[in-house]
């Protein structure tokens, strides 16, 4: 459910051997993301950006900590909404103060399906798929919005299926289609990736989009990305039930506070 960011590879080569195997495609993809070693050494990521949806622009901060902890903070009308997953306790939770409720609520099982793989946002979904018990099959080449892509089908250990569309000229993942099964429901969703940048040797999509009817429904853009920022585990853990306000990452810098009078004390 949370796909703010994905890693894919920057242009490596424009020419391709006529028939490439899944392994070759994935190898090139991973190498260009920065390489398996480098990706797996990543400890954390902090992304500061915004979500544009329904005519609104909502500031967003994403914290990712290896292996699979995640926290997002978005703010509307001065209220901070948190959504988090703690891989140690395998607990997902959220707060929704907009409704007047400031307490943290546990996510249900449907919401936490696949959360144990949220670290894919850090290392890329195809980097460690074998270790996670998934299989990947090359479906073939097809046209995606006028661009030639490889279509890969990943079957996860839990049998959920994800399709990845990698640009044939760049090996970047341009689109991801998931079909998540929960109870009897099949929830399908498409996410588009673009605006690729290389930061500290790691290549990632700085824009992710959800579309409906060919039009954008939601766009998330990263303004700033930082790797290996120290993050306390408490950022991700479910706050105790009696805590009214969920923990906040207090990043306010008093030096930059503009309510401060620029004049010296006792001036005039």
């Amino acid at each position: 459910m949370i796909k703010f960011i994905s890693f894919t590879l920057l242009i490596l080569t424009a020419t391709l051997a006529p028939a490439q195997t899944v392994t070759e495609i994935i190898d090139k993809h991973v190498k260009a993301l920065g390489g398996k070693e480098k990706l797996n050494a990543l400890k954390s990521l902090k992304m500061t950006g915004k979500v544009m949806a329904q005519g609104m622009e909502i500031p967003l901060i994403l914290f990712l900590k290896a292996p699979n902890s995640m926290r997002t903070e978005s703010s509307i009308q001065g209220m901070t909404m948190i959504s988090a997953y703690d891989s140690k306790s395998k607990t997902g939770w959220y707060t929704n103060p907009m409704s007047g409720d400031k307490t943290a609520q546990k996510m249900n099982q449907e919401q936490t399906t696949d959360m144990e793989e949220i670290g894919d946002l850090l290392v890329g979904p195809l980097t460690n798929y074998k270790e996670k018990g998934a299989t990947v099959e090359l479906i073939g080449k097809e046209d995606m919005e006028g661009t030639e892509v490889f279509k890969l089908m990943m079957t996860k250990k839990n049998k959920n299926v994800v399709y990845y569309y990698l640009e044939t000229s760049t090996f970047l993942i341009l689109k991801e289609s998931t079909k998540t099964k929960f109870e009897d429901k099949e929830i399908e969703s498409d996410t588009y990736y673009s605006n690729f940048k290389t930061i500290n040797g790691i290549t990632l999509a700085c824009t992710t989009e959800q579309k409906s009817g060919g039009q954008l429904e939601e766009q998330t853009t990263a303004d700033k990305i930082e790797f290996d920022v120290p993050m306390e585990d408490s950022l991700f853990t479910l706050p105790p039930a009696d805590t009214k306000d969920a923990k906040k990452d207090d990043t306010k810098d008093p030096k930059k506070d503009d309510t401060k009078d620029t004049k010296k004390p006792g001036g005039k």
Partner: protein, 1021 residues
């Protein structure tokens, strides 16, 4: 850098060609109808979870439900939409097989493109072979080994073929072997596996053929066969049949006692037979009309899995036997009508009370073994033949549907075009439906064979207005799909085609014959009374040697074209006195090829476009021609880009080089007069497009599809403007039709029932073309007023081709003062007012911009003064909400700063005390600004913020003058703000100096409140 005028050009090499993906963002609207759905040809469900249902349709692809039919999704849009059969591998229900090419062999049936397999529950499909078979009737999977499957292939309907027969795979569809083949005229109609002994299989072979004017079922190749070794050796098993030549044989096996089988064997006297020894001996059973009727069209029979004596025979109705076929009753249909003509039935093996029935008019469910039924009104798979429109606002669309009558509905409705908005104006099979543009209450429609009626929308009266032959004239021959055509030059004039052409000027009360027999009048093609083969079937579907299409020149009422189903293309230039057949002038066209449509150009009266269809001689090619000299010489405008036999060619009504072609395989567009064509597939499946219309006011392209009802591509303006400079530019704007600033319409949001066709957007559509996909950076859209003030930022897409972004005409929402809950006014921006705005598309470091002038809808009920006043009032309340936000923030932001300072001076207890005192007072004061009671309860608490919100909603949401109460309320609320402001200032006056005094001790600079400008900057969204 910004390029005014909207085209950012780069140097060019070769001309850019459009492709299907050029139009990818211009998605079509599938508006239904689904109220009567369409022909259902195949149903299967997962035995272990019968909420997962797959429904195959005659022309609308495959639909899947995971909710027992509450919600359906189409899952086969990219492939052939004519479905013969579906089989779920019940051992591994994520594997689904679909055989394309419907096998209910009526005149209008389509052709398939092979067998498809999905291994992920239908999300993705791959061709699994048998791609030349055209029609696949049944897939039988070995219940103990899913790799072994048998596929029955009746094969092509209109020509000989070696691809018919029974096929087998032993490796899950990787390779196929034809294991039973008779001859090029005989295919395999049915296949059954003995579930307890899967090496035993039964197959029926069938000799059949259609021509455009006849059908023949039966022949020497037909018969019933059995193999006990998985298809290596076969025995004919007809012991007990009456020895006559056979036609189509439909089989059923009792799953619980599989030595018991039943066969409906078509012959001159069609009978139901039963065997209790695995086919060694057969006995005649009951032969009620419904059991034996139309065996070519009804080819399904099932035995209840739990009860070997209970049988179901879907036919014209549904016959049920409780005694192994000795006697039959009709299903009762208590509680409502069930559409006739049943083609498929699914019985839940784990609860045999539960049935799903596929008919000519949709899928029904029974939970009581067939006593009562409910229709699934959410399958928009109706099979339209033609489409027309009127000039109302919104315009209405009119269409006739295969076996589902004649209908009309608005092209836009409150909440969407749901089933309730469709009005039925004629029964039987529907084809042409023509509104009378000179009388908005009158609609002409027909049922099969030219039974034309005049329907009055006010009174619901229907008058038969069919012309008859006069004494001495030959009997009128009317096509199954008889043309009723409106004159483009005179709204009171209509044409009606039999073998002659008729014209009326008085609503069909008088018909004037304006031609001789325009057809070949070939006696061999007029023997429909003998058509059908072993079972005569003369429903009108084979009527031939008739006028099929008529076109009057939009430039000359005396110039009339008529095309016939037997391949004559006739023209008169004197209103019908003299006719000339120009068919022989067309090079490369096989003789006697059906003329499917004529489009007389509105730019030049000597120019005409004609489409032809030769599929009924087995030729599936696309035939499209153009003449610019009134039919003397012709040029083919068909290219290899096209696929499927042609039903319709249409020239755009504004741009002569823009052409549309509807074929059995979809919609094709040419922007260069037919030199190149592309398949349009934006939310548009490979469905047969039977007719094309263009509404001249909205510029909508309206398609009649034979399987997905009506589909509308809104606004052709951008496609008309795909010029070479645009196509070769890095990024360019494309124009759209004018979109008015709307008045806000109420949509209660109560759920309707069934399918809901989407409305066109009421937002401003911003279209830009990009030659290439943007791989790095983003596309952003900015809307500014003429003073340059940013009104709205929108994210843009970055695809290759046309990109579409919409703006709902709203500005940014007001900033609201903080409260314990979110306030809804903070999510709703006010509409902009009439005027000129600048739209800028920023692509990476480059941008294009253009001016857009917005107008109120000229049909608006309010004067410009009222509009202006409403707008100003809204903005006044908007400002009040923001003033309140500033007022609150002045204090809270100050305290926030103080708190941060306190944190960095942890030892300063005095500071802490001062802040605490200030905070407590501020909190009390702030609770007068916005709701402050915590929790999720509905507190009903209304403070200034909430009061402003309600007023803002009321005034901003209605396009006319606000009420006096609303205007008075503004004054009242303004006073409340002013009072709160005074109290806030008092608070600051007393508390801020204390705070600053405390801060001085820590050598921290004085705090002060933010100025409005600083606050604006800080809270800018």
């Amino acid at each position: 850098m910004t390029f005014l005028g909207g085209i950012l050009s780069v140097s060019l090499f070769a001309q850019v060609k459009i492709t299907s993906s050029t139009f990818g963002a211009l998605e079509a609207r599938q508006i239904g109808p689904a109220v009567m759905s369409g022909r259902i040809t195949a149903i299967d469900a997962v035995n272990s979870n019968p909420r997962i249902i797959f429904v195959g349709t005659a022309g609308g692809g495959i639909w899947k439900s995971t909710t027992g039919g509450v919600v359906f999704k189409s899952i086969f849009d990219k492939y052939n939409q004519s479905i013969g059969c579906i089989a779920i591998d019940q051992k591994n229900p994520e594997t689904i097989w679909a055989g394309t090419g419907e096998c209910n062999m009526r005149n209008s049936v389509s052709a398939g493109s092979g067998l498809y397999k999905s291994t992920d529950g239908g999300s993705n499909w791959k061709l699994a072979g048998l791609d030349s078979t055209e029609r696949i009737s049944k897939i039988a999977i070995n219940p103990s080994n899913s790799d072994i499957m048998y596929v029955a292939v009746p094969g092509p309907l209109w020509c000989d073929s070696k691809h018919r027969g029974l096929y087998k795979t032993a490796d899950g569809g990787k390779t196929w072997k034809k294991i039973y083949y008779v001859d090029e005229k005989t295919g395999c109609a049915d296949i059954i596996i003995d579930p307890k002994n899967p090496e035993t299989i039964y197959a029926s072979m069938w000799t059949f053929r259609r021509t455009a004017w006849s059908f023949s079922s039966g022949g020497k190749g037909s018969g019933l066969f059995k193999s006990t070794d998985g298809g290596l050796n076969w025995t004919k098993i007809q012991n007990g049949f009456d020895g006559q030549e056979l036609g189509r044989i439909c089989l059923a096996i009792s799953p619980s006692e599989p030595q018991n089988l039943y066969a409906i064997a078509e012959s001159k006297n069609t009978f139901l037979y039963g065997t209790s020894d695995g086919g060694a001996n057969w006995k005649k059973k009951s032969a009620t009309m419904n059991v034996t009727w139309r065996p070519f069209y009804f080819s399904v029979m099932l035995v209840d899995p739990a009860d070997p004596k209970r049988m179901y025979r879907p036919g014209y109705g549904l016959s049920i036997s409780n005694d192994g076929g000795e006697s039959f009753k009709e299903a009762s249909f208590e509680g409502g009508w069930v559409h006739s003509d049943h083609h498929t039935l699914w019985i839940n093996p784990n609860n045999t009370n539960h049935l799903l029935l596929g008919t000519d008019g949709g899928m029904y469910q029974s939970l009581d073994r067939g006593n009562s039924w409910t229709l699934f009104g959410n399958l928009p798979v109706s099979m339209a033949y033609h489409v027309t429109y009127d000039m109302q606002v919104p315009y209405q669309v009119y269409t006739g549907l295969q076996d589902n009558g004649s209908w009309f509905a608005p092209s836009r409705c409150t909440g969407g075009i749901s089933n309730k908005y469709w009005t039925n104006c004629g029964g039987g099979d529907g084809f042409w439906v023509q509104p009378d543009l000179s009388d908005p209450n009158i609609v002409y429609s027909e049922s099969q064979g030219g039974e034309i009626t005049r329907f009055n929308k006010l009174t619901n009266e229907s008058k038969v207005i069919k012309p008859y032959e006069l004494p001495g004239e030959t009997k009128l021959r009317c096509n199954w799909n008889t043309p009723i055509v409106a004159s483009p030059t005179n709204p009171k004039t209509f044409y009606f085609g039999a073998q002659y052409l008729y014209r009326t000027h008085n609503k069909g009360d008088t018909w004037e014959r304006i031609s001789p027999d325009l057809t070949t009048n070939d006696p061999k093609k007029k023997m429909q009374e003998q058509s059908g083969g072993l079972s005569v079937d003369n429903s009108g579907a084979e009527n031939h040697c008739t006028v099929f299409t008529v076109a009057e020149s939009p430039l000359d009422e005396n110039m009339i074209w008529a095309g016939t189903d037997d391949g004559n293309l006739q023209i008169t230039t004197d209103g019908g006195k003299i006719w000339k057949n120009v068919i022989k002038n067309i090079p490369g066209l096989p003789a006697n090829t059906w003329v499917t449509s004529i489009d007389a150009s509105r730019y030049d009266k000597n120019t005409v476009f004609v489409s032809f269809d030769a599929h009924n001689s087995g030729d599936m090619k696309t035939y499209l021609y153009k003449s610019t000299d009134l039919g003397i010489t012709w040029t083919s405008i068909a290219t290899t880009d096209l696929k499927g036999y042609a039903h319709r060619i249409k020239q755009d009504i504004q741009k002569p080089d823009l052409l549309f072609a509807g074929t059995e395989s979809g919609l094709f567009i040419s922007i260069d007069g037919g030199k190149n064509w592309v398949n349009y597939n934006a939310n548009f499946p490979d469905v047969a497009v039977r007719d094309i219309a263009i509404q001249p006011v909205t510029n909508d392209l309206i398609l009649a599809t034979h399987g997905r009802g009506l589909i509308i591509l809104d606004d052709l303006t951008p496609i008309r403007n795909l010029s070479t400079p645009v196509l070769e530019s890095e990024i360019s704007f494309l124009p759209t039709r004018e979109q008015y600033l709307g008045s806000i319409s109420y949509d209660g949001g109560f759920p309707g029932s069934g399918y809901e066709g989407p409305n066109p957007t009421e937002d401003l559509v911003i279209l830009y073309y990009m030659k290439d996909r943007l791989s790095s950076g983003d596309v952003k859209i900015e809307i500014r007023d003429q003073q340059g003030k940013l009104i709205k930022s929108l994210p843009g897409t970055k695809r290759k081709g046309i990109n579409k972004v919409t703006w709902d005409f709203r500005q940014k929402a007001p900033r609201v003062v903080k409260g314990v809950k979110a306030d809804f006014s903070g999510f709703i921006g006010p509409y902009v007012s009439e005027g000129t705005y600048i739209v800028k598309v920023i692509r990476g470091d480059k941008s294009i911009e253009k001016e857009v002038t917005l107008h109120y809808d000229p049909r608006s009920l309010y004067t410009p003064e009222e509009r202006k006043f409403q707008q100003e009032t809204t903005m006044k309340i908007f400002k009040m909400q923001e003033d309140l936000a500033y007022l609150g923030d002045k204090v809270t932001m100050l305290l926030d700063s103080a708190t941060i300072i306190a944190k960095s001076n942890p030892g300063d207890k005095q500071l802490e005390t001062v802040i605490k005192a200030f905070s407590d007072k501020a909190k009390t004061w702030h609770s007068t600004l916005s709701a402050s009671i915590e929790g999720t309860a509905i507190t009903g608490e209304e403070k200034i913020r909430e009061k402003i919100s309600m007023l803002y909603y009321g005034v901003s949401n209605f396009g006319g003058r606000p009420t006096d109460s609303q205007l008075d309320r503004i004054k009242g609320l303004q006073k409340e703000i002013d009072d709160a402001s005074v109290k806030g200032e008092d608070l600051l006056k007393t508390e801020l100096p204390k705070l600053n005094l405390a801060l001085q001790k820590d050598k921290v600079a004085n705090l002060r409140v933010l100025t409005r400008e600083e606050w604006d900057l800080k809270t800018k969204k």
